[in-house]
């Protein structure tokens, strides 16, 4: 990686991504040992700055940071105090003064990690910004796909759901394209913007057409409140048309895997029978997430500004 920050997959080259995945392999081995901790980043401080609640991502980063022997502070800013007018810049300056070396940031507004990277000395890791990106999720998904499928060349990956608002999709699309996979985006036309179509990226409004012969099915979480904004009429109708069922899964390649960034809405975007099947690698994603985040912190840790 060239920079001191991980803000966007778009900033990474194919070689950068592969280097991160290769480095993560080493950390996955560490996580299999009895002593699952290395002294690599001893004395460094990681601040998890979460303006949006996210137990999963925060815990994964926390564990990754602890396995690298850093000191971890969880700085959760409830939305209410933001509403009261506490300035993001003031929060950033406070954390800077605490001596953070890394700031892992999650925020409901796109571009906040970029803003912090201009305002702070610490290395900024984007843990999800608005409807923009979630780069470490894409990296751990790529790691999991490579682990299960061996590589990306000629691979067909379907991403299903609310593409428009999904930071997971927005990081995965460029990541998978850089690695050489073909990407299919499937969902309601209100949530699959035509602007996303491009070389190696195909849009489908029908599950039956889109899932045919794919190697990987990556489900996205449906934000239930979207229903009120009129993107689709009801959750029931959504499941009827875009829910991942065993029957639909049978259209994919026989060895296709099912991924989900969690937390799942069973019966909304995915049927339990699929979520709990042999093909689901959802828990591998969770485990791999720690190794990938260790790799990211480690690789950012030595880059001088």
């Amino acid at each position: 990686m060239k920079g001191r920050h991980l803000l966007s997959i778009k900033d990474l080259s194919k070689e950068d991504i592969i280097h991160i995945l290769d480095t993560a392999e080493g950390f996955r081995d560490v996580l299999k040992r009895d002593i699952k901790k290395v002294p690599t980043l001893r004395g460094k401080t990681v601040v998890n700055l979460f303006f949006e609640p996210s137990t999963r991502t925060r815990t994964s980063f926390e564990l990754a940071a602890k396995r690298l022997s850093t000191d971890v502070i969880n700085f959760s800013v409830p939305t209410s105090s933001v509403v009261k007018g506490e300035s993001l810049i003031d929060t950033a300056k406070t954390i800077q003064a605490l001596g953070a070396d890394f700031v892992v940031v999650r925020h409901a507004s796109s571009g906040v990690p970029h803003l912090l990277s201009e305002q702070m000395d610490a290395s900024i890791v984007n843990a999800g910004d608005g409807i923009n990106e979630h780069p470490t999720q894409a990296l751990l998904d790529a790691f999991t796909i490579r682990e299960k499928k061996g590589g990306f060349q000629g691979l067909r990956v379907a991403i299903v759901g609310d593409i428009l608002h999904s930071r997971v999709a927005k990081s995965n699309i460029p990541c998978l394209r850089k690695l050489g996979a073909e990407v299919r985006l499937i969902g309601p036309p209100t949530l699959v913007p035509e602007g996303f179509a491009g070389e190696g990226i195909h849009l489908f409004y029908s599950m039956e057409e889109g899932l045919r012969d794919v190697d990987v099915v990556m489900m996205l979480r449906i934000q239930l409140e979207r229903q009120d904004r009129g993107f689709f009429p009801t959750v029931d109708e959504y499941f009827r048309l875009w829910g991942l069922t065993e029957e639909r899964m049978s259209l994919a390649r026989p060895d296709a895997i099912v991924m989900h960034p969690g937390p799942m809405n069973r019966g909304v975007e995915i049927d339990s029978a699929v979520a709990d099947s042999e093909r689901a690698v959802i828990l591998d994603q969770v485990t791999n997430g720690i190794a990938v985040r260790m790799a990211v912190l480690y690789l950012l840790g030595g880059v001088k500004s």
Binding site: M1, G26, V30, R33, P39, T40, Y298, L299
Partner: protein, 178 residues
């Protein structure tokens, strides 16, 4: 400017002697394992294991160790680090581990290697085998088996080139300057 210090035969002779010394010092070869430090040490450890098998008929387990995660210079590095494989698919508890590296210099890599080993188990003993000892120690570390002592100045560099990496076997001294 470079100067050849050891050629293929010199290296082979030194390794043969070291293999004999290892066998001599450790009466029961069953409790011994060789672990090479990435990258040069890994090839040397394999060569030593082969020689011990040739001379003693004993199959000594051989592994590789990456010490990147234990280094103390993470803040000083200029390039992106590459974490290489650590492959130790045998139990090191209560074993005599012979750490193998190509050049012994400041001793910091060996310190890191020992810390890494300790996180993987509790060896009974750790010994150190080195092809070239060039001096300038910064830590109280001494090799048990030495291929060759080569006094150097700090501005010089020693490079061990091995056929496993696609070079002819040789050890060269690189001098700074024009």
């Amino acid at each position: 400017m470079e100067k050849e210090l050891l050629d293929k035969r010199d290296i082979d002779r030194a390794l043969s002697r070291m293999a004999h010394e290892i066998a001599e010092r450790n009466r029961s070869l069953e409790d011994i394992c060789l672990i090479g430090i990435q990258r040069g040490g890994v090839h040397l450890a394999r060569r030593l294991a082969r020689k011990i098998k040739d001379y003693e008929g004993a199959e000594v387990p051989c592994g590789s160790l990456d010490i990147s995660l234990y280094r103390d210079d993470i803040n000083l590095r200029k390039e992106q680090p590459v974490v290489r494989k650590t492959e130790i698919d045998f139990d090191i508890n209560n074993k005599t581990v012979v750490l193998v590296d190509d050049v012994l210099f400041t001793g910091r890599s060996i310190r890191a290697a020992m810390d890494a080993l300790m996180d993987m188990g509790r060896p009974a003993k750790i010994q150190l085998a080195i092809l070239i000892d060039r001096g300038h120690r910064e830590l109280p570390i001494r090799a048990d088996y030495v291929g060759k002592n080569i006094p150097t100045s700090l501005s010089e560099k020693i490079e061990v080139q091995l056929s496993e990496e696609g070079h002819p076997d040789r050890v060269v001294l690189l001098k700074e300057g024009k």
